[in-house]
Homo-oligomer: 734 residues x 2
């Protein structure tokens, strides 16, 4: 029984990849417009490929070194295998491919969206959203196919027959390598891409818009091509690798915890492990269904409504199917192999946790939208504070960003507490899986934004009629909102996933509690809390430095190449592309290594409990810094955009070019690295550090004293539900 | 024996107050200059008093309500007493008096320093530093006298004979009320004063310097008096209340833990309790000695060197005396009444912890100075990033602030771990006491800065000769550095004090561990981590809003009162003073209540362990946000100041008024609420929440199951020192 159903997982992944291929062909066949447009698009595509090649070259050294270390470490403990190195390499390569697919389709879809926008909004949305869909299906398809396929292969190789066996433990440890590969490439891609895009964006804006007074995306600006390349390598390729890593990590965390569950089912006890993979698989199917609903007919139709309709369709259908799957597969009640891991829980509890996860994700999106949307109180407060200058605009944005942590943290705390009450640690993990199930759809919605942004840039640079830019701007504005809500969603799922990984780490490392009342654990908590600060500092400082180099290069070109401003001479675009490429490759290394090395050093020197304190510190601080930075950046962005249609402050109306608008541009520029470099890296950082801890857990594990029925109070549930009779184990434990 | 030595504590406090009184008289007798200067000084003094009166009126309601609640709660449990309400009121009033003394002397010393600066730098330093000394001795004297005197009275009232008794527990619970009163007034004073001073400062700068192009402290600026009042109510009165609260909390935390120690000494076992009070007492004596060394002879002499000499004298003498006291009072080895609280420790361990505390404090000051001093790499990087505009300046400052958390956190983690290893939880507390012992000197150094700043303002407004302003600027520049290092010191001592209070809370609440592996505790950790973000958000948003109101008022006066710019009409200073006063009183309430109410709500609903998670989250996040904000603000300030003497960027020299300087002014303005409102409030926030937890601990305590020898692994020391044989209890516990 188990045998047959497990094959559905890679098959569903393959289905996603097949649909992706068809949609890719469709986009490629669309009209790419005039020669001038195609020339600009080819600059962008070439720059993006050049960056990816440079990035991959550096990362290949990293993959080889870490692969060798993993192969060696795989020979050291009982339940590990050198095959972990192979899984790691597959994960890393898959993550890179996920980014590559996204980048490739985005650089095709951008110019075709521009061309489509000459006809109608409906057509422009169709092309750009199909581009996004290709990327979403590519990422989700690869993840489900890769993870599912690898899982089957590992079951065969290690001859796994029962869930609670050493062979299964080894198989899962090897599978963790896949996730490590995916997540570490994700981190580098996100940080490198984030530095690239924002260095170019900030640099282009500072000299172009502010000093030279030419519009954004003007061909006279030497940094404009780098800016448009940046959208593709940061917002698309970086995000693709990011979500690939997140998706894999979430499913993996649920599998690892699922392996610890005793379930008397029709699947040889495999149901808690198969469930997350199958939910992810059907999530792909219903994401495809959802895409059918994303269309507008008339010019006046709301793009946001179309996206919401598609999104809700896939979320609701996936939720219903997930509940059905849980009812069909899981037994009525389940217990933990090791009773210290928690109390028994029920099928209904798991279903409750899935629903709770979806509610948490939805609330996070709504809250994020509130804090970053135009016309709402937070953005309007920044708009008003722009009237008294740059400084008050910045104070306003920082204040909004900090305030915006409150509701998400409360929602998250309730989510953690509630999903744990419903189905223990497995509940926390499956809640995250539920949230991530429609990643294909989420990513389609997310990725269409930068495609539309690029399309607008090409329209501007090609001097197409006003109405074309109007249509792409419409899409771009919606894209900004979806980008912000996507980040809220990502951080929530990352927090739950990290906690599940953290719990898995505790299980494997053999510790029974992480007691912050111990001085060394508390010291670990402090060090962990500091990591997101230094990580963010390095990332935004890198953007600042690279942007300055960009500014100086642009100023030099304006000075030394006569005729640029009169369109008589062509700027040296490639020099600006090279600055962004080199800076981002160089500067992504340090933050990446901090994330990878710190848990190893702390774990081996101070042991698993201090490492647990470190992880808790990183998770809490990382979630806070992620929300703070992403929302502050999003709010600043839309505060600036508010001036485009004119805003009333104290009875006076201000437009673009007014003093308050200039202050708002400053805020937007500060927010750029916040929302696109350091902020969204936080969710990868916290997961990656947990995965590293999980990988080294067997090597730093505390010896297990075979003791029964004493000292089992460490993972007690806090409040025993009245209607649930305690099991004999639980009674002994109290 | 105990009887006689305990009286030394209030006597040493009284000595401090006596010397303060003499110095107060000396300052009062100095020449206050011409009528014009005295008129300006009287505006400032009147504004400051008006603010304090308004603040006290609001706080008196708070004190009455909380006092009644405490009186009622004092009747509920075994070891509490309604007298806690009396102690609370005394603490609150003392804290207010500490702020009042500071404000009173500062508004006398400011104009007298201006007058002295007409003669020589030596005289100006003498007057301003003596003003600072009055405040330092006032705060420390009141704290030691109040705490020591109250302690003696409580011993009599409750008839305490032995340390390990219910009477002693009650006495200490009542004493905690004193600390609660002191620290809660400190929080309101710091936040209220911080909002006041920065609203006025930002508002005055934005219109005066940036829009109207008139210098800082120009009589034509309607907000200039409010700005100078702000220095006194924020940097002086706020800081006085703050350090009074910190000083008391630190000593109290050591007393609470000292009560749990079994010490066979010559003081009826009271030595671990008497030691922190006596160290604080002798700290006052050696602070007085240190002040003798703070003088310069010639105009060219370094003020910083003179301050360093005085500071080091008092620190080294106090350290030597503290070691002597520990050797004389403490027995060779000590153990905990409840063996779960930790292993035995030695007299040498306690001495080691005191020394470690001083080293941690010193390192924190040095690191803070590095990150905020002119000419060093961090500030220079911000200076360079000012050349590409407002946005890159802000990115640079935020990045420096985040980076500046790394070394302090590592030092702090080592301090926590090391002092715990040396003398358990008592070691952590006594390390903080050692650091705080020379508070009188620290505060004298801190408080002379705003006095010199004010003196410069009066010189400017009175159009005194250039050389007068030159002398006060010299003092003011040194004051900026000492203000920054003082904040580094304050946050380090606050972190250690919070941990000691946290440990005391764990003891009283009867929990055995705070296990973040439990979902509810982890949820508490998240909520706790978020508190410093919302607190900071409220504080800086309040500054932003009040500054905008100020800007609009100043613009209105410039518009509606003709002749201001030609010195023909006098601005309506009092309107600006009223704006700052009202805004700060109104806006200080919400952040203060969050700090006070959250632990009560979480503690009563979710119990002590979740509250423990909350406190850990607040402490870690608060320390990080405190360091980040204070250092970013300090670095921005000095980046701006760097332009006054001219800075080289890429081979070009920029001065005041250049574009890069304007960008640096933006950074400085953003940094103002960071470094003077939200940043320094963090250390009060984390301590206050721990004190509230300690107060409610008996009410939410988990019932103690009288069980011996099982489940005692929760507070194990992490590494048993090789040379220390485990006690029988410890062996059973493992």
């Amino acid at each position: 029984m188990k045998e047959s159903i497990v094959y559905f997982v890679p098959l569903l992944g393959l289905l996603g990849l097949l649909v992706m291929f068809i949609k890719y062909q469709w986009v490629s066949k669309q009209d790419a417009g005039e020669a001038k447009m195609q020339e600009l698009a080819s600059y962008i595509a070439d720059g993006a490929i050049a960056f990816l090649k440079a990035e991959w070259k550096v990362l290949s050294y990293f993959v080889v070194i870490v692969g060798l270390l993993l192969a060696y470490s795989g020979t050291l403990t009982e339940h590990s295998s050198p095959l972990i190195a192979v899984a790691f390499v597959i994960g890393a390569v898959s993550s890179a491919i996920a980014g590559y697919i996204g980048m490739k389709i985005a650089t095709k879809a951008n110019v075709r969206t521009t061309q489509a926008a000459r006809t109608s909004l409906a057509k422009a949305l169709s092309v750009s959203f199909t581009g996004g869909t290709v990327m979403g299906l590519g990422v989700a398809g690869l993840a489900v196919f890769g993870l599912g396929g690898l899982f089957i292969v590992l079951l065969k190789i290690f001859g796994v027959v029962v869930v609670d066996s050493g062979e299964m433990k080894t198989a899962i440890e090897v599978l963790t390598g896949f996730s490590l590969g995916a997540e570490s490439i994700a981190l580098f891609a996100r940080v490198g891409g984030g530095i690239y895009t924002k260095a170019a964006d900030v640099g282009a804006d500072l000299v172009g818009k502010v000093e030279a007074g030419i519009p954004e995306d003007d061909v006279r600006n030497p940094a404009t091509i780098a800016d448009n390349v940046g959208d593709n390598v940061g917002d698309v390729a970086g995000m693709g690798a990011d979500l690939f890593g997140s998706y894999v990590a979430t499913i993996l965390a649920t599998i690892v915890l699922g392996q610890e569950i005793k379930a008397v089912d029709n699947f040889d006890g495999f149901s808690p492990i198969l469930l997350p993979m199958l939910i992810a698989g059907i999530g792909i199917v219903f994401s495809i269904v959802g895409t059918w609903f994303v269309k507008v007919k008339k010019e006046m139709d709301s793009v946001q409504t179309a996206l919401n309709l598609g999104n809700w369709t896939s979320v609701i259908l996936t939720a219903i199917a997930a509940i059905g799957l849980a009812k069909w597969m899981l037994p009525e009640t389940m217990s933990w192999v090791n009773p210290e891991r928690g109390a028994d829980f029920t099928q209904n509890g798991v279903i409750g946790a899935i629903i709770l996860g979806l509610i948490v994700g939805m609330l996070m999106s709504i809250i994020t939208e509130y804090y970053t949307a135009m016309g709402k109180r937070p953005v309007m407060s920044i708009v008003r504070q722009s009237s008294t200058g740059h400084a008050t605009n910045i104070i306003g944005g920082l204040s909004v960003g900090m305030e915006s942590t409150v509701l998400p943290i409360i929602v998250l705390a309730i989510g953690i507490y509630g999903s744990y009450e419903l189905a223990g640690l497995y509940g926390v993990a499956i809640a995250a899986t539920g949230m991530m199930a429609t990643t294909a759809m989420q990513l389609a919605i997310d990725a269409f934004g930068p495609i539309a942004d690029n399309a607008g840039g090409i329209a501007e640079m090609s001097h197409l009629p006003e109405e074309v830019r109007g249509r792409t701007d419409n899409l771009d504005a919606v894209g900004n909102t979806t980008a912000a809500t996507g980040k809220g969603f990502a951080i929530a799922s990352a927090a739950l996933t990290s906690l599940a990984l953290f719990a898995a780490f505790v299980g494997i490392s053999g510790i029974k509690s992480i007691d912050i009342y111990k001085a060394n654990v508390l010291a670990g908590l402090f060090i962990g809390g500091m990591i997101p600060f230094i990580f963010s500092s390095l990332a935004i400082a890198a953007v600042g430095r690279a942007a300055m180099a960009m500014v100086e290069e642009v100023r030099r070109q304006f000075r030394e190449i006569p005729g640029i401003m009169e369109y008589k001479a062509k700027p040296e675009y490639e020099k600006c592309v090279a600055i962004s490429t080199q800076a981002s490759i160089k500067e992504m290394v340090a933050p990446g290594l901090i994330a990878l090395i710190t848990p190893v050093v702390i774990g081996f020197i101070f042991g698993p409990e201090v490492l647990g304190g470190l992880l808790a510190g990183v998770t809490v601080s990382g979630v806070l810094m992620g929300i703070f930075q992403s929302n502050a950046g999003g709010a600043w962005d839309n505060a600036k955009k508010s001036f485009e249609k004119g805003v009333d402050i104290n009875g006076q109306t201000y437009f673009k070019g007014s003093e308050p608008h200039k202050a708002a541009v400053t805020g937007d520029t500060v927010g750029d690295p916040f929302k696109d470099t350091s902020g969204p890296s936080m969710n990868i950082l916290i997961k990656l550090m947990s995965i590293v801890a999980l990988i080294i857990a067997p090597h730093i594990a505390q010896p297990q004293i075979p003791e029964v029925n004493t000292e089992t109070d460490t993972i007690e549930i806090v409040e025993t539900p009245v209607d649930q009779a305690p099991t004999p184990e639980a009674v002994n434990a109290e």
